[in-house]
Symmetry: C2
């Protein structure tokens, strides 16, 4: 009972036989290649339909394309990545390309390396890497093999394309916003650095750097206070607990991303303090939860769907043959909500 039937799959040869043509003809029709008369196209298409034929990606991979786009994603738990994936899906919809996702961990260089290799081993036609922590040299090594787009990192490369948010501008927006509200002691939650080498191109490092710069530019060097955790709800919570234990304690926290900001909100709440009367909280990413009325988190919007669409478009261009490197950056917008307010007086 319930034995797997080794029913043979329909192949290109079956279609050819059924349509009374050669396998070459079928192959041409499948790829919309030159050299097949309209009449033959119709017959082949009819046969494909009747037999329910579907090309096997593995066999195609041996000679040509797999029509597969590999997406490296640190972790699906980050809601901002969902926006990126929406954009990617939008751009790929209607094409013959299918996106497959592989989780890289986001905090484990080895796991990410394995994820990238998994994609390479599976002969995808191109790779979209979302905020990889892998050293640039290795990224370029991969990019030499196959079309690659790196999302979220700022370095210049002549071998792969880059799509990123202007984290410097976005951070400046939030930090200035807080300073204009009268805050002088502003804590910042940053992420542990998991990569090696010179990874200054990663968002969390740019954000921390810009935060420091803007603070100093406003003569608030003494108000700088950075704690380093992971950008999760739990990490944001722990980081905020630490910041709140300072004396004097900061009157505002720039959490670096929405996920840790949610944890920050809960930590402030637990401490019996009010947002924003006692402590202002700001995030980054403008995820959907941030817009909920009971959360109302001030954040920075970087159009994730646009980034995703652009990245996918650039990748398809590369698959089609472009080799010149391109860079695309999104300009972020501050979305001020009720989690930030004037600094408490006194």
């Amino acid at each position: 009972m319930a034995v797997r039937e080794p029913r043979r799959r329909v192949t290109i040869a079956d279609v050819a036989r059924h349509a009374q043509v050669s396998t070459t003809a079928v192959s041409k029709v499948l790829r919309n290649a030159y050299g097949a008369s309209p009449a033959m196209r119709d017959r082949v298409k009819a046969a494909i339909e009747e037999l329910g034929y579907r090309p096997q990606a593995a066999a195609r991979a041996m000679r040509g394309r797999t029509f597969t786009i590999g997406v490296l994603i640190p972790h699906v738990r980050n809601p901002f990545f969902a926006d990126l994936l929406d954009g990617i899906g939008e751009q790929l919809g209607g094409t013959d390309y299918q996106a497959i996702l592989v989780q890289g961990g986001g905090t484990d260089l080895g796991a990410e390396a394995r994820a990238i290799e998994a994609l390479v081993d599976r002969q995808v036609d191109g790779i979209l890497m979302i905020a990889p922590i892998t050293p640039k040299a290795r990224l370029e090594e991969v990019a030499r093999w196959m079309p690659t787009i790196v999302i979220g990192r700022h370095e210049r490369s002549t071998i792969y394309d880059a799509v990123f948010d202007d984290d410097d501008a976005g951070t400046e927006l939030v930090v200035r916003h807080l300073i204009e509200l009268g805050h002088r002691r502003i804590g910042h939650i940053s992420q542990r650095n998991f990569g090696r080498g010179r990874p200054a191109a990663l968002p969390h490092l740019t954000r921390a750097e810009t935060y420091r710069r803007v603070m100093r530019e406003h003569g608030l060097g003494d108000g700088i206070d950075v704690v380093t955790t992971t950008w999760t709800e739990e990490g944001g919570h722990a980081g905020t607990v630490e910041l709140l234990s300072r004396s004097p304690r900061p009157t505002a926290v720039f959490a670096g991303a929405d996920q840790p900001a949610f944890g920050a909100l809960s930590a402030v709440h637990e401490a019996g303090l009010r947002v924003p009367q006692d402590v202002s909280i700001a995030g980054y990413d403008d995820t959907r939860m941030a817009a909920m009325a009971n959360i109302s988190l001030t954040s920075v919007d970087q159009d994730g769907a646009l980034m995703g669409r652009t990245a996918a478009r650039l990748l398809l261009e590369r698959v089609e043959g472009r080799t010149a490197a391109m860079r695309f950056s999104v300009t972020p917008v501050l979305v001020a909500r009720r989690s930030t307010g004037p600094a408490p007086t006194g």
Copy 2:
């Protein structure tokens, strides 16, 4: 500049030449197959190491396995699925199998069908389907081709394995909890039904059914009020706005899942009502956000990581040859928090 180097990949033949053995020998070593002496194993392994050889999945797929597990996921935005994926990753880690994810949409039968076909076309060794809306007949058709585990649906099948939460028990827990708190008019937010045929096996339908049953069993048939939207923050918000417009309005809302529950919280907040003094809100899934102190959402915990681990384990068993069908159900636990409280008197 920046031209893609068509540098040939290292193949099994290169390894064989380098180790002075046949390609057959290399293949045997790779698969830990019988018929290779320890001495030969060592030489081949050394050659693999030196040359940096990696097997190409596509070529393997032509004859044997791809060592790839396909995961169909409705949408990465649902945080509960992240728990499932954690469990799957945990179980697959250390094996030679790699999980690849494909998004199916969750609300579009056609998109899901394409996602499943994409997985089949790519010759994965097995498929894990998370809450598919595809008719059972089609699931069984796929399962006849390749090892399949269905997560989240309750139907019995002799062809695929099922891993699911006991939604009936979980729903009973929440609804009774609300009734015991004195609520008589309890609204419920359900999901539109996107599938066809007899999809009574999907979680949202079980939850709605059980909600109705428990209400009636407590003589609260008149207090039943179900609105149907999508299980997103936005959907939960819209559904709650509708429920709050009733007169008399419900004193509690069982949102069916955490995501819509978050939207419900925001809708109640916007209406100028207090949670739980005016309206109690309960979700399902016990996601991390639910535990945040400022949210403190009453929910039902279904151990997603355990479900994921189990599903992956069952799938590997099937890949190794098991054909008898198995079912595994997780017993949910109520997690009462501050979003639910006594019904307002009067």
